[in-house]
């Protein structure tokens, strides 16, 4: 136990503005997000992530939002296990035809008012997979979408910015 505490103390808090990459500071976006979530969601935005057929690239970057660098929970965002608990669906695609019914059911199970974000190129427009016998393409071909986050996959920062924009759009 002492060694765990020692390690925690030595590493300290690594959470910081992103270095080197000339992107706007993470904390700046995060603080705006926190403020909006404070105004509109009582301080807590619950997201249900739905992989509707993705290659898993988007999922890795969405998972990264929970790593200590991004630590998205500190801005009031948390990922929940059930659509019943969710304010927002974060859907990655393309929507495979085999996931189409599951996505509709997940959407129906999410209480209104609900926000839907299509994340990644495939979720936004079908990406490399497009529309075919096996793929419905964009998420908006299956359920109503409020906002899209482009990128293959979108970086964690792009995801945060996209969530911020979607929340902001709702207030306008």
């Amino acid at each position: 136990m002492l060694r765990i505490l020692g390690k925690i103390q030595r590493i300290g808090i690594v959470t910081e503005p992103l270095p080197k990459l000339d992107e706007p500071a993470l904390t700046e976006i995060g603080e705006q997000l926190k403020a909006r979530i404070g105004e509109q969601f009582g301080g807590s935005l619950a997201i249900r992530e739905v992989d509707a057929g993705s290659c898993n690239g988007c999922e890795l970057e969405i998972q990264a939002l929970n790593n200590p660098y991004y630590g998205i929970e500190r801005f009031g965002v948390h990922f929940v296990a059930s659509p019943r608990h969710a304010d927002m669906l974060l859907v990655t695609g393309p929507v495979s035809r085999h996931m189409e019914a599951a996505l509709r059911r997940t959407y129906d199970a999410t209480p209104e008012p609900r926000l839907v974000i299509a994340a990644g190129e495939c979720g936004a427009n079908g990406g490399e997979f497009g529309t075919s016998y096996a793929s419905c393409g964009a998420v908006s071909n299956v359920v109503p979408v409020d906002a899209v986050i482009r990128g293959c996959p979108p970086t964690p920062l792009a995801l945060m910015r996209g969530i911020l924009e979607a929340v902001g759009r709702r207030s306008s």
């Binding site: 390690k7 057929g53 997979f129 075919s132 016998y133 096996a134």
Partner: protein
């Protein structure tokens, strides 16, 4: 003796037992040897290959279409001691019936059902008549990989949820069924698990996959080489480097194209970085699944730092689209070489310190030792590759046993364990991380100068190529055939997950349901790479 020479005795043996086997030259398939087999001998071939100690690697079909005899070709790939054999037969499209390899090789079960769903080939003595890849998106009389099936298909306005798939049911006092998925509780891929349990103990797990089927094999048709490399890079996003390399290797062999040494060294550098990133992330995720938040956070931190360097050096956090036909998309700036070497050394130390802490904790050992045991005989029967196989006694790594440049000139340390539990898989992965650090240091130290890409040349229509790559999950097989004008006629990527998903059903037996997440993560099959 080269690996290929080891096949000669087997081919003689096949002739001795009366199989009509014809060896054919196909340079694009090298180092694999191509043999043509009579359809009536197909299951006997499987039987003899098993008796000879061969591993069943993959099976795939090809609708050869008009003017070539109206046949459907079926291929099966075998491997023994690094020597690969591609056996090929053909059945008439009008009556596509063939005997099965599943009786000899349980690992052929789902691949043969996939071929049946996609091409309509009936494996007459297959023990399982249920569909596999097909849910409700197309009719059972339609076969998407047939030439006459349009890529757009004939979809209904809304595709219904899958139904009438007969799961095995357990019966008896206290037995209950737990359906899980396709939408899972975490931020992970979709699939369905059907547990039969008594109390918390799992009697039987049955997987139902295919939810992320995106028609990859079909929409590959008609693409140019660069388009196929992009698609291959999205077969499984966590293996983007390995799958892009596999597809490019197959296309380059079909074209007879020699890739410059610097390009293959850079490919290997990216592939080892991908291996480290995934293993580091998964060790953390396994610790998360046993509720050890400290370990999860630390490994998530290390993975993030590693990915940021990938972005800085190669321009993408997963190095997507960095491998292109004929080479790599961008060169490595010399100023990154020393920092990358230091980075590997620093991460090696960090992991060492963390593991010293984690190894000390009985609460971790209690969850990972003796849980999720994949017995070596099961791993062998299923032909498990990668760390899942190597944690259960399957001593195989393409980089060492069928080495391709640049690994043919490097030493690849391959860990091997036999106990097959979660702990063995975690140890194997930690040792693979260490081996990758050695390789990264060697690759950076010896990086040859020269061009990073050669111009692409369209192969002749009909040219075929085979890529064999050790991705982070294990052996990837990638088959490509070109049609006219340098367009793809057939693409088949076999992700190693095909060999490890069935293993999960076996290793969870008699474990408790709450241990399923960590058991699953210790295997970490790709849904997308499997469902295609």
């Amino acid at each position: 003796m080269t690996p290929r020479d080891q096949l000669a005795p087997f081919l003689h043996h096949l002739a001795d037992v009366g199989l009509r086997v014809e060896a054919r030259a196909s340079p694009g398939l090298a180092p694999a040897q191509l043999i043509l087999v009579q359809p009536g001998d197909w299951s006997r071939l499987g039987h003899e290959a098993k008796a000879w100690g061969c591993r069943w690697v993959a099976g795939w079909g090809e609708d050869v279409g008009e003017g070539m005899g109206e046949t459907i070709r079926i291929n099966a790939c075998f491997e023994k001691a690094g020597a690969y054999l591609v056996a090929r037969t053909a059945v008439p499209r009008a009556a596509p019936v063939l005997s099965s390899h599943t009786a000899s090789y349980p690992g052929a079960d789902r691949p043969e059902r996939h071929i049946r769903d996609m091409l309509g080939v009936v494996f007459s003595d297959h023990p399982d008549a249920r569909r596999w890849t097909r849910h409700q998106a197309w009719e059972d009389s339609e076969f998407p990989l047939r030439r006459d099936f349009p890529a757009a298909g004939r979809p209904q306005a809304q595709t219904p949820a899958d139904y009438q798939y007969n799961f095995l049911l357990a019966q008896g006092s206290g037995v209950h069924e737990i359906p899980v998925g396709p939408v899972h509780a975490g931020i992970i891929e979709p699939g369905h698990f059907r547990f039969q349990a008594v109390g918390e103990t799992v009697l039987k797990l049955e997987e139902r996959l295919g939810y992320t089927h995106k028609g990859i094999e079909k929409i590959a048709e008609g693409r140019d080489a660069e388009g196929l490399a992009r698609l291959a890079g999205r077969v499984s996003g966590d293996s983007t480097v390995a799958h892009a390399w596999g597809a490019c290797m197959a296309m380059e062999k079909a074209a007879g194209l020699e890739v410059p040494p610097r390009a293959v060294w850079l490919r290997a550098l990216m592939c080892e970085r991908e291996r480290v990133a995934n293993h580091v992330g998964d060790i953390g995720a396994m610790l998360n699944d046993i509720a050890f938040a400290f370990g999860f956070t630390q490994f998530a931190r290390l993975r993030e730092e590693w990915q940021r360097v990938s972005r800085e050096v190669f321009g993408h956090r997963f190095m997507m689209d960095c491998i292109v036909p004929g080479g790599v998309a961008a060169d490595l700036d010399a100023r990154f070489i020393a920092p990358m070497r230091d980075e590997a050394g620093a991460l090696r130390k960090q992991i060492g310190r963390l593991m010293a802490i984690i190894n000390d904790l009985p609460s971790v050992a209690d969850r990972v030792r003796g849980a999720g045991v994949l017995k070596p005989e099961y791993a062998k029967a299923l032909g498990c590759v990668g760390y899942v196989g190597r944690a259960s006694g399957m001593d195989f790594d393409v980089r060492r046993d069928a080495p391709y440049p640049p690994y043919d000139g490097l030493t690849v340390k391959v860990p091997l364990h036999h106990y097959g539990d979660i702990n063995a898989r975690a140890r194997t992965r930690l040792e693979e991380i260490a081996a990758s650090f050695d390789l990264i240091e060697a690759l950076l130290a010896g990086l040859p100068a020269g061009p990073i890409r050669v111009g692409w040349m369209h192969p002749a229509a009909g040219a075929e190529g085979l890529g064999l790559i050790e991705g982070w999950r294990g052996e990837i097989l990638s088959f490509v055939r070109f049609g006219a004008d340098g367009r793809i006629a057939r693409f088949f990527p076999r992700d190693p997950s095909w060999t490890t998903w069935p293993a999960l059903e076996l290793l969870i037996h008699d474990n408790i349901v709450p241990d399923f997440p960590v058991c699953n993560k210790s295997v970490n099959g790709s849904y997308s790479g499997h469902d295609l």
